[in-house]
Structures are given as C-alpha cells and as structure tokens.
C-alpha cells in the first residue's frame, strides 16, 4: 500500500493549466526525484500535496484514504512536511523562531503559558548541527546566507516525525558540503521508513539518493522509472522534450 497516491490530479490557474492528469505513487522508505523544466508544474504538485490549494480535478490519498486539505496545517497533521522553494521564512525573526513558527514550545504555570526560548534555541541548535550548518539559532534570518536559510527551512521538517517529506529544491543555494548533508538526511529518512519527494534540477543529487525519477513536462508526467533503468542523458532528453515519453 503506497503512503501517498496522487490520482489524476489537474490544476488550472485561470487560463493556465499547470498540471494535467498527473498520477504518482510513493511507498514508505522510498525517495522519488521529481524533475522538469522551469514552469513544468513541480512546485504546483508539491503545494497541492502539502495542502496549499486543492486540485481542480483528481484526488490525493494518504494511506489509501482520500484527503481534502483546506489549509497547510491539515496536511502537516496528516504527516506531510514540506520545504518550500521560496523557503517561506520570516526575515524579522530569529532562526529558532522560524523553525518553531506555529508550533512554539511553551512552559506553563497554572493558566499562564509562555515561550520556552531556551528549549527552542537548544533544539534548533541541535537540528542545525545535525545538518552540519553554521546557522546560529539566535541570528535573524534577514542576516543569513542562502544556505543558512535553507537549513532553517529544512530544520522545520525535523520537528515532527512525518510520513512524507516534500523538498522543493532544497539544495539550490548551498555549498557542496551542505548538499552532502541534505542528501545524507534523505538517506536517513529512507532508512527510517519515511517517504521523500525531491524536486531538483541537479541530476547527480537525484541519481544519488532517489529510487525513482519522475519527469514533468508542461504539466504532464512523461516518465516514471526506477533510477537503475534510466540515465542522466535520458532524463535530460525527457525534460527538454527531445525524448517524447519513456
């Protein structure tokens, strides 16, 4: 039984059809690389799964149960975590505040509850260390480098124990060393039976950690193959349209 089943999903924004009848399944412990040209619809598909907006047509099934998210929190409650392509961070808050945004750790005394800054700093410090990132929990996101921001966005997905982790170009702005940490993280997620969708333009990353690769072209899925049955050359051809379908 797949943990995620995308069934005949279409999405239109007014006259623009971003996705047309896309099917996709994902098993536990599996990572799938989702590739495609700019504007192919990758982010749109991720956002539909993460509950940002509903599909125009089709359905999303989690553990064979159809879900209809109206808000991203509902997806999170069903065990879906996402790293957005634009990262979705608050520049004016600290790294730790961003990691815990919407799920702050609180202390309580009787009816009074207040933010437990110390725990949040400590926990996010641990998460950054795990990602081998130089990010400091107290720093404002405004002052951070692209890679540090990415670490904050990725750390957000580590707060809960999700079933599915969606990563929309998580390695776009980071150094070779940190790319390795993100890929290691994906390996660890797989070993612990999590399912991952990795959107990336970086062929080597996809071929290193993913079990399957799916290619979107102008909103349609044109390929979905085990990594062993394809090659970077074929995938490139599928992305550009030099190869029609595989």
């Amino acid at each position: 039984m797949p943990v995620l089943h995308v069934r005949g999903v279409s999405k239109s924004f007014g006259a623009i059809q971003a996705l047309g009848h896309v099917d996709l399944t994902l098993d536990r412990g599996e990572a799938i690389g989702l590739m495609g040209d700019n504007g192919a619809g990758k982010s749109t598909l991720m956002k539909i799964i993460a509950g940002n907006f509903p599909p125009t047509e089709g359905a999303i099934l989690i553990d064979d149960e159809e879900v209809r998210f109206t808000r991203p929190v509902e997806a999170r409650e069903k065990g879906i975590e996402i790293v957005y392509q634009d990262l979705a961070l608050c520049d004016n808050l600290s790294a730790a505040a961003n990691v815990f945004l919407g799920r702050e750790i609180k202390k309580r005394f009787g009816p009074i509850r207040w933010l437990d800054h110390r725990s949040m700093y400590r926990r996010s410090g641990e998460l950054f260390a795990e990602l081998k990132s130089e990010t400091r929990p107290r720093d404002l996101v405004r002052q951070m480098s692209g890679g540090q921001r990415q670490a904050v966005a990725i750390a957000r997905t580590r707060l809960s124990d999700p079933k599915i982790v969606l990563m929309d170009e998580p390695t776009a702005a980071i150094s070779v060393r940190q790319v390795k940490e993100v890929l290691d993280l994906i390996h660890r997620l797989k070993e612990t039976d999590h399912a991952v969708i990795l959107v990336s333009h970086r062929m080597p990353d996809v071929f290193e950690v993913c079990d399957r690769v799916a290619v979107l072209r102008r909103g349609s899925k044109v390929a979905d193959k085990p990594i062993g049955d394809t090659s970077p050359e074929e995938v490139t051809g599928l992305i550009t349209g030099a190869i029609e379908r595989a």
């Binding site: 991203p72 520049d91 004016n92 808050l93 945004l101 919407g102 509850r113 207040w114 933010l115 800054h117």
Partner: protein, 338 residues
C-alpha cells in the same frame, strides 16, 4: 605545538566567539528606543540648565501625567503597526468612548458600569476595524479613516453636542482615578507602567506576540506555518481600540468633563510616538518600550518649548522634525547592517 601558536589559536577562537555573540549592550544599542532614550536624557540635561523650573516636582509630575495617555495609546498602536497595519480612528474613538462613559455615569450608573460601557464600545469599534481588514481584505488606512469619521460623528450625535461634567454617584472616585496619584505617581502613569510591562511580556514571551511579529514579517509564511493570520490581525485592532478606550476613560476622569472633541487629531501624535519609538510601518519591527518612550520625547519637546518661552505653536513643527529624523536614522542604521 608551541605555546605561541596555541595562544594565537586561542586568540582567534576568542575573536570568533566575540563576533558570534553580541553582548546585551551591543544588541541594545541597535534598537531605536535606546537612541530615543539617549535623546531624552540629553534634552533633559539641557533643559535643566536652561530652566530652573524644569526639574521641579510639579513640572515632572505634569510631564509624566501628560505623556501617559499618549503612551497608553502608543502601546496598542505599536502592535497594529507591527502587523504592517495602521489605525487612524483612535482619536475619534477617544471622543466616542469618553462621551459614552460620561453619559452612562451622568445617568446615575456606577463607575464600573461606565467603564465597561466605554470599553464595550471600544471593543466593538476595534472588532469592526479588524474584521473588515482581516476577513474582507480592506486596506487598514481606508477602513480606519472611515471609522475616524463615523466614531466622531456618533460621539456628536449621542452627546447632542453638549458637554458632560457630572458623573453621578461615583463622581469623586472617578475624578480621583483620572486626576489623583498613588505614592506620588499620577494614576495614568501607573496604568501606563502596568500596561507597558504587559506588552513587553506579550511581545517577548507570548505566542500571540510571536505571531504578531510573524504576520508583520511575512504574512504568507505565517499562514503556511499554520498561524491564524486573520484572528491575529483582528486581535491587534481590538487591543489597540481597548488601549484608546482606556486612555479616554482616564483622561475624562482627569479633565472632570468631556466633550465630543476629546482626542481630536490625537491619532497623528500616537502614530508618531510609536514610529519614533522604533515601530516600522512596513511591519515586523516593534518595541514595547518604544511607544511610551516616543510619547515621552514628544511631551518633553512640548514642555521644553513652553519653558523656553517658545510658543506652543512650534510644537508640531518639532514633533514632525523628530519623526522624520527618527525614521531617517533608522534607515541609516539599516543600511550599515545589510
């Protein structure tokens, strides 16, 4: 390894550590309220030289009481501005709240009843502003500009353009609450002190405060993180209205009378106080201490002009000057940072 290279390494480690953690003093000097506070001290030193009256107990008492009302309102305004909003209706709301409290008490009702009637009206106005802005996505400027006109007009209608100066059975108590003092400190200042502490705590230690800053920083990200953005926005307008209502309640008690012109044009001073205190109109940056400190600076300017024999007509000129200067300084400091 030689001791020399060892000490060299230690030195490098120290510099790195020093660069990482700012001392509390350093982080303090990066905030706007700190510099405004310095300006207040400088102005105070100058005035104590220029005028013998400045440091007199009477004068300090007056300054404290006068700025307290604006300080109370600036606290609420700071929360609104932090969400990248604005509330132009607070001055008119003061008029409406003041008239409602006055009429209710004049009719022979208790102080408590008058208080809750006034705060009820403030709540309603804040709720209306907030719902229109958050759920109907209307521009804060337009909604509260409309409310500015509506609230003032309502105050005129229900007061029938007459002054209220009798407050029923609890008149004595009411005049003491607004005009009296405890331990030598005017009551409005006590209210300001308590409210400032509450706002400081809320901004730094409550989830509400965290969410207010998040909404001001990046609404989209806040929404994606599951923060109830609409409710947060409604809450800041309600809180702000309650602050204005409370300020009106205290002020009427101090004056001992109320007309529907109470609070006329105050919105400009309140916004100025919040902005001088470091609240950024783009949202996401605000300080609980900023509002009261900004209000204090403005009152100090007024007082200084008076004592220096310069006409009060110049007050708005200097308030305006400081407002522009404050924003200008913030720009410069930001440029150095990014």
């Amino acid at each position: 390894m030689s001791t020399e290279t060892q000490s060299e390494h230690a030195r490098i480690d120290d510099t790195i550590a020093a660069r990482r953690e700012m001392t509390w003093l350093q982080s303090l000097t990066r905030t706007q309220p700190f510099w405004i506070f310095i300006a207040i001290l400088i102005l105070g030193v100058i005035m104590s030289q220029v005028s013998g009256v400045f440091l007199s107990e009477r004068n300090i008492y007056n300054i404290a009481r006068n700025f307290a009302f604006f300080g109370i309102m600036a606290l609420g305004m700071t929360a609104v501005i932090c969400t990248a909003g604005i509330d132009l209706s607070v001055g008119s709301l003061m008029g409406l709240t003041g008239i409602v409290v006055g009429l209710v008490m004049q009719a022979g009702n208790s102080l408590l009843f008058g208080f809750f009637a006034g705060m009820g009206v403030a709540l309603l106005v804040g709720l209306t502003n907030g719902v229109l802005i958050a759920y109907f996505r209307m521009a804060p400027f337009v909604v509260t500009l409309g409310m500015l006109a509506i609230a003032r007009s309502l105050a005129m209608v229900i007061s029938d353009n007459r002054m209220v100066h009798r407050f029923g059975p609890d008149q004595e108590l009411y005049l003491w609450i607004g005009g009296g003092s405890m331990l030598g400190v005017p009551n409005p200042v006590w209210v300001l002190i308590v409210l400032t502490a509450v706002f400081w705590w809320a901004f730094n230690y409550s989830t509400w405060g965290r969410w207010v800053f998040a909404v001001g920083g990046n609404v989209q990200a806040a929404r994606l993180a599951g923060i109830p953005v609409e409710r947060v926005i409604v809450s800041v307008y309600v809180v702000n209205s309650l602050c204005a209502g409370l300020a009106a309640f205290m002020m009427v008690g101090w004056f001992g009378s109320v007309t529907n012109a109470l609070g006329m044009a105050y919105e400009l001073n309140v916004i100025a106080a919040a902005v001088i205190g470091g609240a950024n109109l783009m949202g996401g940056v605000a300080f609980a201490l900023g509002g009261p400190i900004g209000a204090l600076l403005m009152e100090l300017i007024r007082n200084s002009l008076l004592l220096a024999g310069i006409g009060a007509l110049w007050q708005q000129f200097f308030v305006g000057l400081f407002l522009i200067l404050a924003v200008f300084l913030e720009q410069i400091r930001n440029r150095g940072r990014t």
